[in-house]
């Protein structure tokens, strides 16, 4: 009764929107279609958001939130840069260490949430302040830059001349995470905890341990995004991750993941990432200012949440209210036949 949408209808809608968007931009915006490789290269501009979004989606599926992803991205990238510039480590080894550090920072979030019983929103807000200030302190007045050409491949490179490395990594990660959520016991437990934490506990799911792993995954993906950004810019800054958070949340929500947990999937998030990214880059190419595109991002967030709530009649959303109003009108219109 609560389900107006058939299964996967949201994903299908998103796929249609994405195709429509690509067709419209290619025909309407001069310069958007710059050859096959040129158009694909656009993805380099926004896929770091996508990496964060996929990690964040896992957290949101459990009904939690991670506000520290931007801070973790910055801190991990700064640490990587220092390890290689001041510590003399090989850049690739430094990058692997930075990923591990990202996972540890996320795991610490999980500890705060499960052991100290702090709500995820507050816990990750607090740690985001801490991680950011540590990054600022470590980076110093002139943050390191220049990591060499081979490392730049991660953010700017292509394979077979046209396929961006970032896009290939994104596709691989999306497939991996999709399998993780839908096909593994770990993923099943995540969804169970998201829908009904108590029932999952009674069914023998070790909830605190699971949550710690989930936040570690989010930290790992944030660090990954930070490293890709460092490669893309060939530099690090302690505030480079700041822009990641809000857009990533928007992508997850647009992708159909419920902020209450449980509902949604990685396929939707992947589509959400591509739609929002293509839309923003397309608008920038068309000559709209960043202000306009940001405004549009906000509007999309509102519309997508409202549409979902309206269609699924969930909770206390205004969508449900509207639906109820429409229903009551209908009932009043029918005269009682006594």
């Amino acid at each position: 009764m609560n389900r107006f949408l058939p299964r996967h209808a949201w994903d299908r809608t998103l796929a249609i929107i994405l195709i429509a968007l690509l067709v419209a931009f290619c025909t309407l915006i001069p310069g958007f279609y710059a050859g096959f490789g040129g158009t694909l290269a656009i993805t380099d501009q926004f896929l770091p958001f996508g990496f964060v979004a996929i990690g964040l989606a896992v957290v949101i599926l459990t009904g939690g939130i991670d506000l520290s992803v931007g801070a973790i991205a910055s801190l991990s990238a700064v640490i990587m840069a220092i390890l290689t510039k001041s510590g003399g480590l090989d850049i690739w080894l430094a990058a692997v260490l930075a990923l591990i550090i990202g996972a540890i920072l996320g795991w610490l979030n999980g500890i705060v949430i499960t052991s100290l019983r702090v709500e995820p929103l507050i816990a990750t807000l607090a740690t985001s302040f801490i991680y950011t200030s540590v990054a600022t302190a470590l980076a110093g007045a002139s943050p390191p830059y220049g990591f060499g050409k081979p490392f730049g491949v991660l953010g700017n490179g292509t394979i077979a001349l046209v396929l961006p490395v970032q896009l290939l990594m994104f596709i691989g990660i999306a497939i991996g995470f999709s399998i993780l959520i839908t096909r593994t016991g770990f993923g099943r437990r995540i969804v169970m905890v998201g829908y009904n934490r108590d029932a999952a506990h009674y069914a023998g799911v070790a909830v605190p341990g699971l949550l710690r792993k989930v936040y570690a995954i989010s930290g790992f993906m944030a660090a990954f995004a930070g490293i890709v950004l460092a490669s893309y810019y060939d530099a690090v800054r302690p505030d480079m991750g700041n822009i990641l958070l809000l857009t990533a949340i928007t992508m997850v929500v647009l992708g159909g993941v419920s902020i209450f947990g449980g509902e949604g999937g990685i396929l939707g998030v992947t589509l959400g990432v591509l739609i929002l990214g293509v839309l923003r880059q397309g608008m920038l190419i068309a000559g709209f200012s960043d202000m306009v595109t940001t405004m549009l991002t906000g509007a999309i967030l509102l519309v997508s949440i409202a549409a979902k709530n309206l269609l699924s009649d969930r909770g206390f959303g205004y969508g449900a209210l509207l639906l109820r109003l429409i229903n009551s009108r209908k009932q009043e219109a029918t005269p009682p036949n006594t």
């Binding site: 009764m1 609560n2 389900r3 399998i179 096909r183 593994t184 016991g185 770990f186 099943r188 437990r189 969804v191 169970m192 829908y195 009904n196 108590d198 029932a199 999952a200 506990h201 009674y202 069914a203 023998g204 799911v205 070790a206 449980g262 509902e263 009551s328 009932q331 029918t334 009682p336 036949n337 006594t338």
Partner: protein, 544 residues
């Protein structure tokens, strides 16, 4: 609107005074009586005429007609999903019918919302009492009709609220401090407060939607006392219950609903169990079946020694034998659920040991306890048992995810499908298929899946907490049959129940739990309605 005005309004509407108010003038407004109307003739016949109601494509009520008479307890019976609650909700203004009319005596009512229904004197005591836990009992009782005093608008007359609500509860024989937060009340008390709310609002037609399912027999007795008193004073009373004994005891008239239509209506003279049951389910069931009590033998599979919790229970000793069905009898709050949860690792304990098949599981994690072969099927299905938005398959396999994983963590989808299929078949679940979301199933079918989820882990000991709560007769029979089968296959089962007849029908041995301790043990021929009834009340210990 002030409460006094609400009451007056009602009095004028029905030409009769709140009768309870006469025994205690404070129950109603206590002021400006309308004596000229006190002798008006009895009224309050509430009728549903050809009511039709659909939710989206699901037609729940199909031209249902029903008439509730004053001075009568009229019971609706039927399986889960038959439309009983929906019909009451339509009568109480919560749902608007798609077609048909509601009449009170000769007038046709237009009930736009519950408030309008209450203004006509119709009050629904909901299945789950809707008190606001953070407000005091008194505030809850006057919610929406707070009386004011003085010239300033909105200045609430707290003192009169307190005294009047306290008096009205006392009239019902309830010892509740109205200044206390409502969340401190037991479910039984909350229900009685709801009932008092109806009286305070001057309502003469009170509908009870399955009030007894969370109550113990003593509490039910108390509630019935009040219902009888209201009936004798000419109130119009509607009642829903799944418990046959209760229905036979309290009803003056019974209507049976099946699939949204009335299939039978009988008055007291025509009460007959098998007739009612076949009207309900459309097939004949074996009733009055009593388990042949067996003396189980062998080494205990579950041994509990000295299990203690600082506040809930102390010094619990248990020895459960294979193939044995042991009942926990006791009032809600006696500690039955707490003991079960502590045994299964879901709740802390301060002392004691739990040994399962020779393995000490006192401090083991829940996944380990389940693996060791001990499961707990919780009482609260929606909160602890089922994950309603997920599919039947996901729910059926939720207890054994670890076993379904291969070494790299991937789930064995074929095995999952097989378990789901087996559960559907073995437990006779009415569903479209394994992919159907749990929330689309009726309560009884949900319970069967939850049951199946635990049973498919092949436990050696299962603790079932209120296994048939809120489940219809047909599903109940199925669940009893399953419990029998499982015990014959050697599984040891502990049944926690508030239903006397359920314990008597199922158990080889009954333990009375009172105030956190085991106070008595009944076996074989000692198990009778009287002895189990006494066990509920502490069997010898002084009841509080």
């Amino acid at each position: 609107m002030g409460a006094s005005r609400a009451a007056d309004h009602n009095r004028t509407a029905h030409g009769e005074r709140n009768v309870l108010a006469m025994s205690s003038p404070t129950l109603a407004s206590g002021q400006d009586r309308a004596p000229d109307q006190a002798q008006a003739p009895r009224s309050g016949r509430l009728s549903a005429v050809e009511i039709d109601k659909s939710f989206l494509t699901n037609r729940v009520l199909k031209r249902v007609s029903l008439s509730l008479a004053p001075g009568e307890v009229h019971t609706l019976m039927g399986e889960n999903g038959a439309g009983k609650s929906t019909l009451f909700r339509v009568l109480a203004g919560i749902h608007r019918p798609d077609a048909g009319a509601i009449t009170l005596d000769a007038t046709t009512l237009d009930l736009r919302n519950p408030h309008a229904a209450q203004a006509q004197g119709i009050y629904l005591v909901p299945q789950e009492p809707a008190l606001m836990g953070e407000l005091s009992v008194a505030e809850n009782m006057y919610l929406g009709v707070l009386p004011t005093r003085g010239r300033l608008p909105g200045r609430v007359d707290w003192r009169s609220i307190r005294t009047r609500s306290q008096d009205s509860l006392r009239t019902l024989g309830l010892d509740i401090d109205v200044r206390d937060d409502a969340r401190h009340l037991s479910i039984a008390q909350q229900q009685l407060v709801e009932c008092a709310k109806a009286l305070l609002r001057g309502c003469r037609i009170i509908l009870f939607d399955e009030p007894t399912s969370p109550l113990t027999s003593r509490e039910v007795g108390f509630l019935f006392g009040i219902i009888r008193r209201l009936r004798d004073e000419g109130y119009t009373l509607g009642f829903i219950s799944h418990r046959m004994d209760e229905v036979m005891e309290i009803s003056d008239r019974i209507s049976v609903l099946r699939d949204g239509a009335v299939t039978d209506e009988v008055d007291r003279a025509g009460f007959d169990r098998s007739r009612l049951v076949s009207a309900m389910v459309g097939r004949t069931l074996s009733f009055d079946r009593k388990r042949t009590h067996r003396a189980a033998s062998g080494r205990p599979v579950l041994t509990v020694r000295g299990l203690t919790h600082p506040s809930a229970f102390r010094a619990i000793d248990l020895d459960i034998l294979p193939g044995e069905i042991v009942g926990f009898a006791g009032l809600i709050g006696a500690g039955r659920t707490e003991i079960a949860e502590a045994i299964c690792g879901l709740r802390d304990k301060s002392a004691g040991s739990v040994v399962l098949n020779g393995q000490d599981i006192t401090d083991a994690s829940i996944p380990r306890i389940i693996e060791a072969g001990l499961v707990y099927v919780p009482e609260d299905r929606a909160r602890h048992g089922a994950i309603l938005p997920m599919s039947i398959r996901d729910n059926a396999t939720a207890g054994q995810i670890t076993r379904l994983q291969n070494p790299i963590g991937l789930l064995d989808r074929l095995r999952e499908a097989e378990i789901a299929k087996q559960t559907l078949a073995r437990f006779r679940v009415r569903a479209r298929g394994p992919d159907q979301p749990m929330r689309e199933l009726s309560g009884g079918n949900q319970q069967k899946i939850v049951f199946g989820k635990w049973m498919s882990t092949n436990p050696t000991v299962a603790i079932l907490d209120e296994p048939t709560r809120g489940v219809d007769v047909g599903a109940k029979e199925d669940i009893y049959r399953l419990i029998e089968e499982l015990s014959q296959s050697g599984m040891a089962i502990i049944v926690i129940s508030s239903e006397l007849e359920e314990l008597i029908a199922l158990c080889d041995r009954i333990l009375a739990i009172y105030a956190g301790r085991i106070t008595a043990e009944l076996r074989g021929a000692e198990i009778t309605a009287a002895s189990v009834g006494a066990a509920f009340l502490g069997a010898g210990s002084t009841p509080a």
